[in-house]
């Protein structure tokens, strides 16, 4: 049974539709509801990062490695999460870094999803030589750990914003291509596609009108589950000094610098990591939920 029919079946047992049904389902699982709220807060905080009262790039050596505090001078905002070795406010920098992480993550997923879904659709639907070529390249990319491949590429083309997106997209499309291809192989043998073929629909109509709607749920779930991985991957590259170069604050970069101050500044190690984990955890929780919501049959 296809995912659409199943969804219709679910709907008939529940009078709610569209957004209201989604909200109802989210509310029933407290963890997932919390993840939605938290992600919304993070998105807002990242979007409004520039409005934070302390400038993230303001140096003040008199505030060298201040621990987190609520106390503050007259007319100044407290350094809630402490300061770094150059006296820059950690929270202000983390907000900027979070925005950048989300930005990179979303763009990288967009590239990976666009390329991977298209190749997966074509490989699965057309088959033949194209299928062989795409799948052999995917196998080869899977024979390398992500970090190793990314490092090799960055070593060749150098670290910059666009290059990082390129690297993440190049390594990320494989997941989409493989999952979409497998789903297309299953869907294209289904009765409604067979019927459409029998009445003489063109290949393109078959692919986009009859196959694609069955695959789109899988793509949505994969997007959510890949987002967290992309954010971790970007942080890993920045941590190794192969990401977006300083002075742009990145979560990985801040953590990398923190290694020098293990003994004097625990907050530099703890807080950036918490930011990173919370973002990724929210994305993963929502992804897991979306998978069950759209199609309980899907297993990833």
């Amino acid at each position: 049974m296809g995912s659409r029919q199943q969804r219709n079946a679910n709907r008939s047992s529940d009078s709610r539709r569209g957004f209201r049904r989604y909200a109802h389902m989210v509310w029933r699982q407290k963890r997932v509801a919390a993840a939605h709220v938290l992600l919304l807060v993070i998105l807002l905080a990242a979007a409004l990062a520039d409005l934070y009262p302390i400038d993230a790039s303001r140096l003040d050596l008199s505030l060298h490695l201040e621990p987190p505090t609520l106390s503050h001078k007259e007319g100044e905002f407290p350094r809630l999460l402490g300061t770094d070795p150059l006296g820059r406010d950690l929270l202000a920098r983390l907000l900027q870094a979070t925005r950048l992480s989300l930005y990179v993550g979303v763009l990288a997923v967009a590239v990976a999803c666009g390329v991977g879904t298209l190749l997966g659709l074509l490989a699965g639907f057309i088959g033949g030589l194209l299928d062989h070529v795409v799948m052999r390249i995917a196998d080869a990319l899977l024979a390398l750990p992500f970090v190793v491949l990314a490092i090799a590429i960055v070593a060749a083309i150098g670290p910059s914003f666009m290059n990082i997106i390129f690297v993440l997209g190049l390594t990320g499309w494989v997941t989409f291509a493989r999952l979409v291809r497998a789903e297309v192989l299953r869907v294209r043998e289904m009765d409604h596609v067979e019927a459409a073929r029998a009445i003489g629909c063109s290949q393109w109509r078959l692919l986009f009108v009859h196959v694609w709607p069955q695959v789109v749920g899988l793509v949505l779930v994969t997007i959510t589950l890949t987002l967290g991985q992309m954010i971790i991957a970007e942080a890993t590259l920045s941590f190794l000094g192969l990401g977006i170069p300083p002075p742009t604050p990145t979560l990985g970069g801040i953590l990398s610098n923190a290694q020098t101050y293990f003994f004097s500044a625990w907050w530099l190690v703890v807080f950036p990591g918490i930011f990173l984990v919370v973002i990724v955890l929210c994305a993963n929780l929502i992804g897991d939920f979306l998978r069950d919501y759209l199609d309980p049959r899907l297993k990833l």
Binding site: V147, A156, T236, L240, L255, N284
Partner: protein
Amino acid sequence: MLSYILSRVFQGLLTVLIVVTIVFVVLNLSGDPIRLMLPPTASAEDVAAMREAFGFDRPLVEQYVKFLRQVLRLDFGRSIQTRMPATEQVLMRFPATMLLAFSSLLLAALIGVPLGVLAAVNRGKVLDGLAVSISLIGQSIPVFWIALILILLLGVFWPILPPSGYGTARHLILPVLTIALFLIAGITRVTRTSMIEVLPQMYLTAARAKGLSEKAVIVKHALRNASIPIITQLGLQLRFVLGGSVVVESIFGWPGLGQLLAHAAYERDYPLVTATTFFVACLIIGINILLDMAYTIADPKVRFW
């Protein structure tokens, strides 16, 4: 059997060829590798001389063929930093990474598999909730942060272990723990799912009816039948172990392949990056072929001959 092994090995070699081609394409993406190797202040003559010395002035196809020949001879040239043959340098680093990788895989399997089994058997209870939470959180924590937190806890606040270095067994603990913690999430998750699918099967009822103890039923009958996805997962994990080891080795100063690669990439040491990538790919492909054969031991139904 022999023909199956041969065809798997042939497939593996094909994959290696594609990996090598990808590496070649990637290295030529930058347009001019020489520019990256030399400092920006190098004179035009130096650049031209170096280009000729490395053969980068030749047509791409010719370079590709030459590159393939080098790969066949396992000769990737000399490291730009140390002037040592790249292959030799990579092979020297192998033992340290293997020690790290297999210790952490073993530790992760020893914790993850029982945890997953217990979670599946006690489905819906506290232990299950705990296992599910662990695997969910474990998937969301970057491996380098696990390392930093472990150093902060066990190296700084409660200094019982050396925060970095190589040589004694004590130095092994933190890096192995880091990678293992990172792997447990995936292993627990797969073991739990796979066991949940096996548990309602009739042959387990039959085994119980025969009078076997519950322990024997779970371990000998259920776990063995659930083991194929678990073995697959361990094979997939190897990619994460080697990927994770790049970061972990850099943090803990562990003299393995990962540290070599991170440093080589940072210094743009081309031959070294190529050689490391090649050997890592070969290792992963080779082990996956071995794992395919291990399936047949775990499950006699999977016989390809």
